[in-house]
């Protein structure tokens, strides 16, 4: 079996088998092969070798290979997102349950698990005194409110927040107690405004030696 001297054409023979030649090149190679015995023999040899190589390769189980592949990146991201959502839902569920349980507990007890009994008049702590203001008991609230007004107001706020709940105790107050409570709220609103008054500054360029300028040449005007 001889080699054709046209190396360029011989180089193209495998591409001819695999249909990878452009139209013009394919036509040129086919024309050469038609007239060249060596190239025809080599072409047949190449076809035979290709057939052998294809035949001896084992068949691959595609399903088996695909099953071993990693998940697509988008799928992985989706799975991570699913995990995050699940974690968030779990967190909310556990947190919500805890809050609900806590609310139910605080609806029965006050403070550190102490049952809501009527407080003793003139109790030392301000929290207890505010509780005395809010808890429906036949006690005159004015006694405590006179003692330390600021603390009473703060604790009244806390108590008011607690009373917004469905199990609030406003409905149990009589008219006198409500008035006393409103009086405490009025005191809360009576806190003086601490914001400074607005100040406006005007610069007078024509009078550098203004009498009140203090050497800067600017007149301050409130």
């Amino acid at each position: 079996m001889n080699d054709c001297p046209n190396a360029e054409i011989r180089d193209q023979l495998p591409d001819l088998i695999h249909e990878r030649l452009e139209v013009s090149m394919r036509a040129a190679v086919l024309a050469h092969v038609a007239d060249c015995v060596d190239c025809r023999e080599e072409l047949e040899l190449l076809r035979g070798v290709r057939a052998v190589l294809v035949t001896q390769a084992p068949r691959i189980d595609i399903t088996h290979v695909v099953a071993a592949l990693p998940k697509a990146p988008a799928q992985r991201r989706r799975r991570q997102m699913d995990w995050r959502i699940a974690a968030a839902v779990t967190f909310l569920a556990v947190g919500g349950s805890s809050v609900a349980l806590l609310n139910r507990t605080t609806g029965v007890t006050v403070g550190n698990g102490v049952p809501p009994v009527a407080p003793v008049i003139g109790q030392a702590t301000p929290l207890a005194s505010s509780a005395a203001n809010a808890v429906p008991a036949n006690v005159a609230p004015a006694n405590d409110s006179q003692a330390r007004p600021a603390q009473v107001v703060a604790s009244a706020n806390e108590q008011a927040a607690a009373d917004v709940s469905p199990g609030g105790r406003f409905a149990d107050l009589n008219e006198g107690q409500l008035k006393a409570l409103l009086g405490e709220i009025d005191k809360l609103q009576a806190v003086p405004v601490t914001e400074p008054e607005p100040v406006s500054i005007r610069v007078d360029a024509k009078s550098p030696a203004a009498p009140d300028a203090g050497g800067g040449g600017a007149a301050h005007d409130r």
Binding site: G48, V49, A57, P58, R59, H64, L69, A72
Partner: protein, 187 residues
């Protein structure tokens, strides 16, 4: 064995890139299509490189490694060439580890000869049998280059990328292999 990925090179490459993009977007069927397109070629390359044992496992490992590092595939070469590169690297690693584990080269050659005999019985045609032996007599590099050129239709540039050599060296290996095959058949 069918080869669904081979038509004209450019459109095949584009189709591979589209499938890769689809897989990255979450389409698992694209992965199946990619495996279907290239699994047979990888098996052929493994066998023509002298691998006889667990070819399916080697092909699977190649795909797993390729899909795990698809972000690193920039499309400079064709997807199939890139797969050949990965498979060849795995093949070399496997051989190195086997050689380290036990140095029994001669026994392996005997085993290989036995398996060739078993395969021979499947190849009825005398000409085919002679062709097969002619290819087997080539040096490992010649066999790789010859197989990629003849069985897969890769260009010299693609072969050079897959085998880790230059385009000119790949051409020389191919022509030397062709001459050796012809000489064997003429004996």
């Amino acid at each position: 064995m069918t080869d669904p990925a081979r038509g004209s090179g450019g459109s095949d490459d584009r189709q591979d890139l589209e499938l890769i993009a689809r897989w990255k977007a979450g389409d698992e069927r694209a992965a199946t299509e990619l495996v279907e397109r290239h699994a047979a070629a990888l098996a052929r390359f493994a066998v023509s490189s002298g691998e006889r044992n667990e070819v399916d496992e080697l092909v699977q490992d190649t795909f797993v490694r390729a899909f795990n590092s698809l972000d690193g595939f920039r499309g400079d070469s064709s997807f199939r060439t890139w797969l050949f590169t990965i498979e060849r690297r795995l093949l070399l690693d496997r051989r190195r580890s086997e050689k380290r584990r036990r140095d029994k080269t001669e026994i392996q050659e005997d085993d290989a000869a036995t398996e060739y005999d078993a395969l021979d019985s499947m190849v009825a045609d005398e000409t085919q049998r002679k062709l097969k032996h002619a290819v087997e007599r080539l040096s490992p590099t010649q066999r790789e280059v010859f197989s990629l050129r003849v069985a897969e239709g890769l260009s010299y540039k693609e072969i050079a990328e897959a085998v880790g050599t230059t385009e000119g060296a790949a051409r020389v290996h191919y022509h030397n292999a062709m001459r050796a095959v012809k000489e064997f058949l003429d004996e």
